[in-house]
Symmetry: C2
Subunit: 339 residues, 2 copies
């Protein structure tokens, strides 16, 4: 399918999908949000101050919505999805706090990162607190199966972040290594969020697998799009600055694909910005010109589109329902952001 | 009881207690150590490199030994104590990695801290990995009760570290706030380690409570002694440098008690070192002289001795056994380190 056709399809199918997902999960998400605020509380004032600053900064809560939507997809809901959804959001926010320390990031969700206000030490420790609270909420829900899914995800996410760190500024990083990184650091939490939602909904083995696979493919597509937006957006979806990835030395697919084909001059221009926090906007613009010359942003979107297709296919194992269609559409929506 | 009497008693009772504990738990600890090495492994090379550097640096593994000893105290062992002990040690090591980042520490266990070799980012992330692995091992053991105990501990530890951070360099910090900090950041893991050991041993409600109380009091005594050794030792028990706490701005009991009684001149001398990483050894020696003038190191040991007494009393609820005596003696041993 030509890119322009993909684009038309993605925009048509994705249109309004987020609004529909928000509406379908709204009542449950109110309960999730109440629980999140309650469990971010502490007698140590700095904990809720910092946690709420981040949590209330207007993230879209896509991961907990995914948990709620997955639970709604199945017939035997037990109510555990509220705890699971809050736990997933806490895990995500713990990761963001630690990531911003790891990456020396100044901005997050369009505002100064928490570490710019409360410092690195508090960001590390409040992240740890949120992780502990996430596990407590999981324990209270009482399902060892779901707990194991999220505990494994926590370890894999950290492992993926270390791998990304090890590959930073590595001009020889490969597309396969990149996929390994984003599968671990991003897609694993999407997969776990959907899987524990399915468990809370009373899914059987096939249903559980369908949602895990859907979440994994959605997460891969999500990260690929995010990595395109880092070069293309006016500040990316996470409210960071354009070009941050390259300046932080992150080897994302658009750069890896470009380096595969780059001539020595192009290679030099990329290397001059890679891992240089102070690289100028002019230098960055030269890199973007190289990415466009080799069409690597578009090719990264194609890759994302492939994962969207596989996410939709994973849902085919389930009976037709309004929610199934919605989850299918939401996958398209997240790629449509990239155009 | 006069200090000299306490000292004679502690030294007599504590003598050889650590060696006896090591011997009594040796066979199980071999299995724990094997599990620790296995679960610190990863396809991402930096993960086991960093984790093993820290884990193999020769910590005494007091916390996992406590878990094993607690399990041995009861009649219905299920084998879960191996997983619990490894999980407790992983949680402890995750905390150490994050603490060294938070405190900008150069040394740990007598060697350069991991962050000096692999950097802060890797230390944060490998800490997260160890925490995830700890929860996986707990899940595999299959007891939600034990899981809840450790999950709660993880959140409380982080909360206590944030509280300590909030109180850093605060000349008005009180003894009550200090106890709140060490109860959360140190004693809670000792309590949890002993409690999950008791659960693995098949303890009833009273036995579980006895071990939790014992662990909490032991942990309080342990931290009080550690905070004395920071001023008195040739490098403290954790292989950090003498006076690090004060230079890092940590308000520990010896300083808090001294500030309560200090005249303006003494107060000024303490304030000149507090939170000043570059304070000279001469300036530090002046502070130690003030602590000695007000006997606050000895008074802190008295406080630790009080917790040792309560730790021993907690064990009175249990039938007499060789292991009960050993756990009682080990509490004395940890205070005898301070003399």
């Amino acid at each position: 399918m030509a890119l322009s056709d993909s684009r038309v399809l993605a925009e048509a199918t994705g249109a309004g999908a987020l609004e529909r997902l928000v509406a379908a999960t709204h009542a449950d998400m109110e309960r999730v949000n109440t629980l999140i605020l309650k469990r971010a509380d502490s007698h140590v004032a700095m904990v809720p101050e910092l946690a709420r600053y981040l949590i209330e900064a207007g993230g879209k809560r896509l991961r907990p919505m995914l948990t709620i939507a997955a639970a709604q997809l199945f017939a035997n809901r037990r109510g555990a999805e509220i705890n699971y959804a809050a736990a997933v959001e806490f895990m995500h926010n713990a990761t963001l706090l630690h990531d911003d320390v790891v990456d020396d990031s100044d901005m997050r969700r369009g505002r100064p990162a928490a570490r710019m206000i409360w410092g690195n030490p508090a960001s590390v420790l409040v992240g740890d607190f949120l992780l502990g609270q996430a596990f407590m909420m999981m324990v209270e829900a009482g399902d060892l199966d779901a707990l194991g899914t999220l505990a494994r995800a926590a370890a894999i996410i950290a492992e993926g972040e270390v791998f990304q760190l090890a590959k930073a500024r590595d001009l020889e990083a490969t597309a396969a290594e990149y996929e390994q990184v984003i599968r671990a650091k991003t897609a694993t939490l999407f997969a776990a969020a959907a899987e524990v939602g399915a468990l809370a909904g009373g899914a059987d083995t096939d249903g559980r697998k369908a949602l895990r696979d859907y979440g994994m493919e959605l997460g891969l597509a999500f990260q690929l799009v995010d990595d395109v937006l880092d070069y293309r957006g006016e500040g990316d979806a996470m409210g960071k600055n354009t070009g941050d990835d390259l300046r932080e030395g992150k080897m994302t697919l658009p750069v890896i694909l470009a380096l595969e084909e780059a001539n020595p001059g192009e290679r030099e221009i990329i290397a001059a910005v890679l891992g240089k926090p102070d690289a100028s906007d002019t230098a960055l613009a030269q890199v973007v010109a190289i990415l466009n010359r080799h069409r690597t942003l578009d090719r990264t979107i194609d890759e994302a589109q492939g994962h969207v297709g596989r996410a939709r296919t994973a849902l085919d194992a389930l009976p037709v329902s309004e929610m199934r269609t919605l989850l299918s559409d939401i996958a398209e929506f997240y790629v449509s952001r990239a155009y």
